[in-house]
């Protein structure tokens, strides 16, 4: 019953054994490399196919190229499935027997159980009944013991015997039944054994059949697969062969081409080589000839050189001799020189000592000279002082003389005028008007009008302003105050006040404290003085310039104070040339301006004052610097003197003189006629004579004066 199990297992194992070689090398080739290659290809194809299968993508483009691979793969897959099915079916067929026996065994067991149960029941029943019977019999034994009658006892014994026999018979029957059953079972066993052997035979048969069948199918499938691979291989082989041939052909063609190229190149090179060789040959010849020539020349040169060499050698030998001699001479000279040096050293020492002595001497001399020089400087200073003193004195004298002469001249002129008047009135009977000349009003030397300092003017202005209310007319009369007249003193004053107020920083604080107790005007005066000194305003002109500047600034800059620099530049060229020459002009210019815009210094903002001042100082600086030395040496201008004096002489015009001449002639005639008048004529002559004398004197004086001024 059991053997099918292990046998089946064995069978399965055998089948597995059989199935393994299919997976082994399926390409039978002589070359192991090829086999390995084939196997690798197959593995790769299998992997590829599986992956594609898994991803479910069948690329149409790849399908074509991998058709061959797929063929074998398909074949393999088919075979595998078929074989698996076959194995499964076969196994099932074989194991069916086992299953059948199993179920038979189960049925048997069930039946057996039933029979066993029945038998047990039966046995139990039997036991019970037989026990009952036995009990009955044993009970009867007790009863039998009490029986005394042998007949009864015999009867009872008989019955007992019968009962026992029945019991035994029952038992025997049962035993025989059981034995019968046993026999049947034995038969059954034998049958079972037979059946089992049959089963086993069947099993073996089936197994063998299966083995055969499986072997056959495996072989077949193997053949199929092999065929598929063979076909694939053939295809591959042919395609590869084709490829190879094509490659070979291409290779051959290329080789031929290369060969041709090579031959051509070789020819070319040969030609080139020949040409090169010819050329080289010619060149070689040429060079050879040239070199031979060179060799000859060089040999000649060598000869020459040898000759010169010998010559030189001789020369050198001679020179050597000479030099030797010279050397000797030089040693002698050297000794002489040494001696000389010694001597010169001595002299040098002497000279040094002399030199030191002289230095000392000259130092002393120098000291004495410097003291002399100092003294002379002192003398010169004293001289200068004296000169200045003399100049002042000269000035004074000149002035005095001038005044005197002028007085005299004026006297004369007045006399002349008187005479003329008399002539006119008395003699001619004409109305006489006194001629009005500028020089007549002149007193003192011309252009020696005192240059008033700025402060003085300021003082004047201030004073004037004070007196303005009372004496307005009086101020106008003064001639030297004409200059600021263009700018009204009022304006000037206001400007100055403004300046004074705004530029207090220029005044020293000490001065301010001193000024406090003073009067207002004085205070202003001092302050302005300090400010002017700080600004460098000294003269009257400067002051007027300043005032003018202020006014112009106001005119130009009242709309915008930004053009200050342009004004400055405009101002500079006008001011820079000769200041004194331009003075009149600028003043004239300033006049109309004042008329056009009456000055109202209120319009000058106090804040602008500083800017104006700055611009002014900048503009003033340059001309002042250049003018400073000129100012110190003030030379009196005597150009107008002669004119002046000339004018004085010609006070009486020619016409008058002519008139006079005519009158004289007439008068002479008249004298002649009127002898009375002779005395007057003589007087007149004497006067004329006197006048000439005076002229002479004046001339002389003037000459001396000139000399004096040259000295200065």
């Amino acid at each position: 019953m059991n053997p099918p199990g292990p046998l089946g297992v064995l069978e399965e194992k055998e089948e597995e054994h059989l199935s393994t070689p299919i997976l082994g090398p399926s390409i039978h080739s002589d070359n192991p490399q090829e086999r390995i290659q084939a196997r690798r290809l197959r593995i790769a194809a299998r992997l590829e196919a599986r992956r594609r299968e898994a991803l479910g993508e069948y690329l149409d483009g790849k399908k074509e190229s991998e058709e061959d691979q797929r063929k074998s793969y398909k074949q393999k897959e088919e075979s595998r499935l078929k074989l698996a099915k076959l194995l499964l079916c076969g196994t099932e067929l074989v194991t069916n027997i086992q299953v059948a026996t199993d179920i038979r065994e189960i049925h048997r067991r069930v039946e057996e159980e039933e029979i066993k149960r029945q038998r047990l029941e039966k046995l139990e029943n039997e036991v019970k009944t037989s026990q009952d019977k036995f009990d009955e019999i044993t009970a009867k034994w007790e009863v039998g013991k009490q029986k005394r009658i042998p007949q009864d006892l015999w009867d009872m014994l008989n019955t007992q015997q019968v009962h026992c026999a029945g019991l035994i018979e029952d038992k025997n029957k049962l035993i025989s039944e059981l034995q019968q059953e046993l026999k049947i079972k034995d038969d059954q066993y034998v049958k079972d054994l037979k059946k089992q052997s049959d089963d086993i035979c069947l099993l073996l048969e089936r197994m063998e059949e299966q083995v055969k069948h499986v072997m056959k199918t495996f072989r077949q499938e193997l053949n199929y697969i092999e065929k598929a691979f063979e076909i694939e291989r053939q295809e591959l082989l042919t395609s590869n062969k084709k490829k190879w041939e094509r490659a070979l052909q291409a290779h051959n063609a290329k080789e031929l081409e290369y060969l041709m190229n090579r031959i051509k190149k070789a020819e070319d090179y040969e030609k080139q080589l020949n040409r090169q060789r010819m050329w080289d040959w010619e060149e070689y010849n040429m060079i050879k000839i040239k070199l031979e020539q060179d060799v000859q020349v060089l040999e000649q040169q060598l000869q020459q050189m040898k000759a010169t060499y010998q010559l030189n050698q001789e020369k050198l030998e001679y020179n050597f001799q000479v030099l030797k001699k010279r050397d000797e001479e030089s040693t002698v000279i050297k000794s002489q020189q040494k001696r000389k040096i010694n001597r010169l050293h001595d002299t040098l020492n002497n000279l040094r000592s002399k030199y030191a002595k002289q230095i000392k001497q000259f130092q002393e001399e120098n000291q004495s000279l410097t003291s002399d020089y100092k003294r002379l400087v002192m003398q010169f200073k004293e001289l200068q002082k004296a000169m200045r003193h003399f100049a002042l004195i000269d000035d004074k004298q000149f002035r005095e003389i001038w005044l005197m002469n002028e007085e005299e001249a004026k006297d004369l002129i007045s006399r002349a005028f008187d005479v003329d008047r008399i002539i006119h009135t008395h003699h001619l009977g004409l109305p006489w008007t006194a001629p009005d000349f500028w020089f007549l009003r002149n007193v003192g030397p011309i252009s020696q009008q005192p240059q008033k300092s700025a402060t003085q003017i300021v003082e004047e202005v201030l004073m004037q302003a004070e007196e303005e209310g009372t004496e307005e007319a009086a101020s106008e009369a003064e001639s030297y105050l004409d200059l600021p007249r263009q700018i009204s003193p009022k304006t000037t004053r206001k400007i100055l006040m403004l300046l004074c107020d705004e530029s207090g920083f220029l005044v020293e604080s000490k001065l301010l404290s001193l000024l406090l107790p003073l009067e207002k005007n004085e205070c202003y005066l001092l302050r302005l003085d300090a400010i002017f000194s700080a600004l460098g305003i000294e003269s009257e002109d400067d002051l007027y310039k300043l005032v003018n500047f202020f006014l112009k600034y106001r005119v130009y800059h009242s709309p915008s104070s930004q053009e200050q620099t342009s004004l400055l530049s405009a101002l500079e060229p006008g001011e820079q040339p000769d200041l004194e020459g331009q003075k009149e002009e600028s003043l004239v210019e300033g006049e109309p301006e004042e008329k056009e815009a009456p000055p109202s210094p209120r319009l000058i903002h106090p804040n602008d004052v500083l800017k104006i001042l700055e611009a002014f100082v900048m503009g003033l600086k340059k001309p002042r610097d250049s003018r400073a030395p000129v100012k110190l040496k003030y030379v009196r201008d005597n150009s107008k003197d002669s004119a002046y004096w000339e004018a004085l002489t010609t006070v009486i015009p020619d016409t008058t003189q002519n008139l006079w001449d005519a009158l004289y002639t007439a008068l002479e005639k008249y004298h002649l006629i009127l002898t009375q008048r002779a005395k007057l004529l003589i007087e007149n002559n004497s006067l004329e004579q006197q006048n000439t004398e005076l002229q002479m004197l004046l001339q002389k004086y003037l000459d001396s004066k000139k000399q004096g001024s040259v000295e200065m």
Binding site: N2, L47, R50, V99, A100, D102, I103
Partner: protein, 501 residues
């Protein structure tokens, strides 16, 4: 003279074709008459070589030389050859092998006779070809694969099995076995004894029951039918891993007697002690030996906490529920991987206890309860256990009187369990509805590869459909085993299983 001729042919290969031809033919003849028969087959017959020119002949000769390593012109054997022959001849008295060069060793081994006493060869010769010859000479059929692919092991194992099979206690000298022990100790790993003979009982002497019996129930007369005590033998085999025993007589035929198949208590105790002492034992089989509950319990008790045991096979015995309970206890006290209780008398309680043990077991891979009678109660218990078990792969419940309720539960198990690969429910009364339910469960399962439902009253349609599902599962499993790495299984449900393997 022949020798000179031969040498002359070699020395002067470029002579006239006819003369060399003649000489060559003579040389070929001489060589063919020589002791080596193999040369004859390789050297072409002279008739064929006729008409060839000398160049081809020389090549031909050379080819022969290249192909036969033993071919030599020297007719007088070399001294080494002679020595080897001598060694072979006197190997029994003077075994010389290890001192030789490898090539000479090979030669000696190929000429040694397989009949040499084992005492000489056992520990000296490791060469497989020699042992192969020995085996093939003794047994016509040899499954070397079952013996680990080693012919030597096969030889010793079968030799020892043979000896044990024919050992008759009392008459055979135990020294026969024990003498062999030192020779085969390091080679025998598997002992597969399918016959243990009882002592020969002379009909004359009366049977003395009290000698061996210690407490048997049914048998009134207990003869001294103790079999051979394996204890000494097994203790000597230091590498024994598999022990397959059948206490019975083979081929008794019509000489059948009940006491030929007795597995006595003494046998049982002795065997228990034997297997307990054998720490290397991995597989233990005791089949067809009338092991009842008590004996099974004795054996299993000795196997508790065995360090190496992996497979226990007690099929075709008389084990009932108590034995099954003991086996269940063993499941939780060992690393058992395979348990086979086929064809026993296990009923529902035994199956329930087994199921209880199985529910939390993590070692058992295969359980075989074929031809028992666990019925639906036991089947349901097992199915419940399988819902939590994550290890069992093979389950055989053929012929167990199972019916629809078990099938219902099993179909639930099928949809949940992912480890089971093989289930056998043949020879049960599953019924049509049960088959349908199993089909439903099968449709959700992707791991089961075998599902046997033969002769279990299942409709053919559902059986066929189940077969289809199994086919699909098998294909998927094949794909997974072939390339587990980059192959993404199309079924997402199997995803987590892939990295686990």
């Amino acid at each position: 003279m022949q020798e000179t001729l031969a040498t002359s042919t070699l020395l002067a290969p470029s002579r006239s074709s006819i003369s060399t031809q003649e000489r060559f033919s003579t040389a070929g003849q001489t060589s063919s008459t020589g002791p080596q028969p193999s040369r004859l087959s390789i050297i072409p017959p002279p008739s064929k070589s006729k008409g060839w020119n000398s160049g081809t002949k020389v090549r031909r000769m050379r080819r022969i030389i290249a192909e036969d390593p033993e071919w030599s012109l020297a007719i007088v054997p070399l001294l080494t050859e002679l020595c080897i022959q001598h060694i072979v001849k006197n190997f029994q008295n003077n075994p010389i092998l290890k001192q030789l060069l490898p090539e000479h060793q090979q030669k000696v081994l190929s000429h040694l006779s397989p009949e040499l006493p084992l005492a000489v060869t056992a520990n000296l010769i490791d060469d497989e070809s020699y042992w192969r010859r020995c085996c093939l000479q003794r047994w016509p059929v040899c499954h070397v694969a079952r013996h680990g692919g080693s012919w030597k092991r096969l030889f010793f194992e079968r030799h020892l099995e043979n000896l044990i099979k024919h050992f008759i206690p009392g008459t055979t000298d135990p020294a026969v076995l024990l003498d062999l022990l030192p020779l085969c100790r390091s080679y025998v790993r598997r002992l597969c004894v399918h016959q243990l003979l009882p002592p020969v009982q002379p009909p004359a002497p009366p049977r003395s029951g009290e000698l061996s019996d210690s407490g048997s129930e049914g048998e009134t007369e207990e003869p001294a039918t103790d079999h051979y005590q394996l204890r000494d033998l097994v203790a000597g085999l230091s590498h024994l891993e598999e022990l397959d025993l059948v206490y019975g007589v083979k081929d008794c035929g019509m000489n059948f007697e009940g006491n030929l198949f007795l597995f006595t208590y003494r046998d049982c105790h002795s065997l228990a002690a034997t297997i307990k002492a054998c720490h290397t034992l991995k597989i233990f089989r005791l089949t067809r030996s009338k092991v009842d509950d008590d004996k099974a319990r004795i054996l299993i008790r000795s196997l508790l906490d065995h360090p190496a045991l992996e497979e226990l096979d007690l099929s075709h015995n008389l084990i009932a529920d108590r034995g099954a309970r003991a086996a269940a206890k063993l499941l939780s006290h060992s690393r058992l991987r395979v348990l086979n209780l086929a064809n026993n008398q296990v009923r529902a309680p035994g199956a329930q206890s087994l199921a209880h043990a199985l529910a939390h077991n993590t070692n058992l891979i295969s359980l075989n309860l074929r031809l028992n009678c666990i019925e639906d109660e036991g089947g349901q218990a097992l199915a419940h256990a399988l819902q939590t078990n994550k290890c069992l792969t093979t389950l055989h419940l053929g012929g167990n009187e199972l019916s629809e309720p078990t099938a219902t539960l099993l179909s639930q198990v099928l949809s949940v369990n992912t480890t089971l690969t093989s289930i056998n429910l043949s020879c049960n009364h599953i019924g049509l509805d049960g088959g349908k339910q199993l089909l439903e469960g099968m449709l959700d399962n992707k791991t089961l590869l075998e599902f046997d439902l033969r002769l279990s009253d299942v409709a053919q349609e559902s059986e066929y459909l189940i077969g289809q599902a199994l086919c699909a599962n098998r294909e998927a499993a094949r794909q997974r085993t072939l390339n587990p790495g980059h192959f993404m299984s199309p079924i997402v449900a199997k995803g987590p299983e892939n990295p686990a393997r």
